[in-house]
């Protein structure tokens, strides 16, 4: 696989976009499905209770369209796995496997939640269990996905991950995963306020009690989890490996805390006076917090994998160098192009070699004898040098094109025979 620097940049941009599309969607779906199931359980003995109604409203608002689930929940996940595989090509990143495994529970969880949504108007424990199972499976997949993304920051630990459970055995992963989970629930809270107040007119035909209840629930849940998020975030930073850090990364971390502060302030104001405008502001702020968190994660991974990125570039350079001479096979002047051979000798070989004198490498008179009747071996050696004599350092791979190697081999043998033999 040939990854040019431009290709890698493109992959990173695309990956960032996919994560920004996918993770907030999962956050809203997971958080509000969870609340829906909880309220359905709370209102199970009272069919006309506000709890049951709220449960139905939640799931119908946040799991409304199967097309959205496909576009934002399932397809990006496939693209994310593919892009990470490209970025971590040959990195022996064992965390890629749990990420691939996460696809199954996330898809299964989304399907079950949509089944639950289609049955939510019907009573019965089976419907509740379907929803609960969907939420739990989705949560398992979400944790696996986030833990894998967080673990990409720490190549030191990759070698020790033998199964997906190992992924979670580390304070840094626990703190990082909880940062996403708490931010997800804060986003779900702000989502409740935004969707109920801004986008739908559903609350007009209901009592003030219900309206206040929805408002208070969204606000308190949002406030609580927005207050918790920085605790896990800073814990994640404290346990983060040194190589993931950079000054820019720390700047982004401070920006994240400032945004979380703004979110908490908005929520606290809405405890007293909630309106559609404030709800929109808070929802947008939580989405921005998500973007900053994702961008920070990508930056930490970029810092941690500097050597791996360099390795991809080097492989790309090597493969290009190997491909080019093959294309140039037909152009070469070959063994008889002495003028070209002399040029190559003067510009490249003479740094280390003379015919009759030791400099860095041996004098030609001591080594050319064996190639006199086997010039192809000399061409092959020049293109792919191996250490022969322990008294000398190994010869560098000079990256000569095949025509250049042939020309210099011809020149060396001819000059040796005519002037030094």
């Amino acid at each position: 696989m040939l990854l040019s620097p431009e290709h890698i940049v493109l992959v990173k941009i695309l990956l960032g976009l996919m994560l920004v599309l996918h993770l907030p969607y999962l956050a809203l779906l997971f958080g509000n499905s969870l609340f829906s199931v909880i309220f359905r359980l709370l209102g199970r003995d009272r069919s006309d209770s506000d709890f049951t109604r709220f449960s139905g409203d939640l799931i119908n608002t946040f799991a409304s369209n199967i097309g959205v689930a496909l576009l934002m929940g399932i397809l990006p996940l496939l693209v994310i796995a593919l892009l990470y595989s490209q970025l971590l090509f040959e990195a022996n990143a064992t965390t890629l496997i749990p990420m691939m495994i996460a696809f199954l529970p996330i898809v299964a969880g989304i399907i079950l939640i949509y089944v639950y949504r289609s049955l939510v108007s019907k009573p019965g424990i089976v419907v509740t269990l379907t929803g609960a199972l969907g939420v739990l499976i989705l949560l398992a997949g979400y944790i696996l996905l986030i833990a894998s993304i967080v673990r990409f920051h720490d190549p030191e630990k990759w070698g020790f991950i033998r199964n997906p459970a190992h992924l979670l055995l580390g304070w840094n992963t626990i703190a990082g995963t909880n940062t996403y989970l708490t931010l997800s629930l804060a986003t779900a809270g702000s989502g409740i306020l935004f969707f109920f107040f801004k986008w739908t007119e559903k609350l007009k035909d209901v009592s003030k009690t219900y309206r206040d209840y929805v408002r208070n629930f969204g606000t308190i849940i949002g406030l609580l989890f927005a207050l918790l998020t920085p605790v896990f975030f800073v814990w994640h930073l404290i346990t983060l490996t040194d190589i993931s850090y950079s000054m820019e990364f720390l700047g982004l971390a401070i920006l994240f805390i400032v945004i979380m502060g703004m979110i908490v302030y908005q929520f606290s104001r809405m405890l007293e006076d909630s309106n559609a405008k404030a709800a929109t502001r808070t929802f947008i702020l939580t989405l921005i917090a998500f973007v900053v968190l994702i961008f920070g994660n990508q930056m930490a991974m970029e810092n941690a994998l500097k050597e791996h990125n360099a390795s991809l570039f080097t492989k790309s350079e090597t493969m290009l160098a190997e491909l080019l001479p093959e294309r140039e096979m037909e152009e070469g002047g070959g063994l008889m192009d002495f003028a070209k051979g002399e040029d190559v000798f003067k510009s490249v070989c003479s740094s280390c070699h003379r015919f009759d004198k030791k400099i860095v490498g041996p004098p030609y008179v001591a080594v050319l004898d064996k190639y006199e009747n086997d010039i192809e071996s000399l061409v092959s050696f020049v293109r792919n040098p191996q250490k022969v004599n322990p008294e000398y350092p190994p010869m560098a791979n000079l990256g000569l094109k095949i025509a250049e190697a042939e020309a210099v081999a011809g020149y060396l043998i001819k000059t040796y025979q005519e002037e030094y033999k």
Partner: protein, 166 residues
């Protein structure tokens, strides 16, 4: 009052991040070296092996930093007009060692021998990363005890305290 409480709460987190930044700066991400030596060039393009320069890695505690004379074996003739090689030659002419900045440090209460790890077949890259692609060297492993012990257990090496703390 509420605004003040929120501000104080979040300022605490910002303060912790600033402190973390201060601690991190002591880690020295890829220190500047007196000569911009490229491991990539020497390992990938020239084809040298690690022990060509770090001659004591297989036989001692420390891998050894090469003497200027080792560099001059080749650079007396190779790339003599490069600015970095001119700097190297100046050290050579003044008979001074190059004051390379250290990258990996272990506390004094830890006894680590390169020899034992190489004999066991641990590749240099396990701890130092793939040096064949590195231009500027930085510490790529935490060197924390948890990392050492986990690796010891994975490879069936002793995790007795006395193994490393003598």
């Amino acid at each position: 009052m509420k605004k003040l409480l929120i501000t104080v709460y979040f300022l605490i987190f910002i303060l912790i991040i600033v402190l973390l930044g201060g601690l991190w700066s002591t880690y020295r991400d890829a220190p500047d070296q007196p000569i911009a030596f490229s491991h990539k060039k020497h390992l990938t393009y020239v084809g040298l092996e690690c022990d060509h320069c770090h001659q004591y890695a297989e036989v001692g505690l420390q891998p050894g930093i090469p003497a200027v004379s080792v560099c001059m074996d080749c650079h007396e003739a190779v790339a003599t007009d490069s600015p970095e090689i001119i700097k190297l030659t100046e050290y050579w002419n003044r008979k001074e060692p190059v004051p390379w900045a250290g990258v990996y440090y272990l506390p004094q209460h830890v006894l680590f021998t390169h020899k034992r790890h190489i004999k066991k077949g641990i590749d240099c890259a396990e701890c130092h990363g793939d040096m064949k692609v590195v231009e500027k060297v930085r510490q790529v492993r935490s060197l924390r005890m948890g990392w050492c012990v986990t690796c010891h257990r994975e490879n069936g090496a002793s995790d007795d305290c006395w193994t490393c703390h003598k």
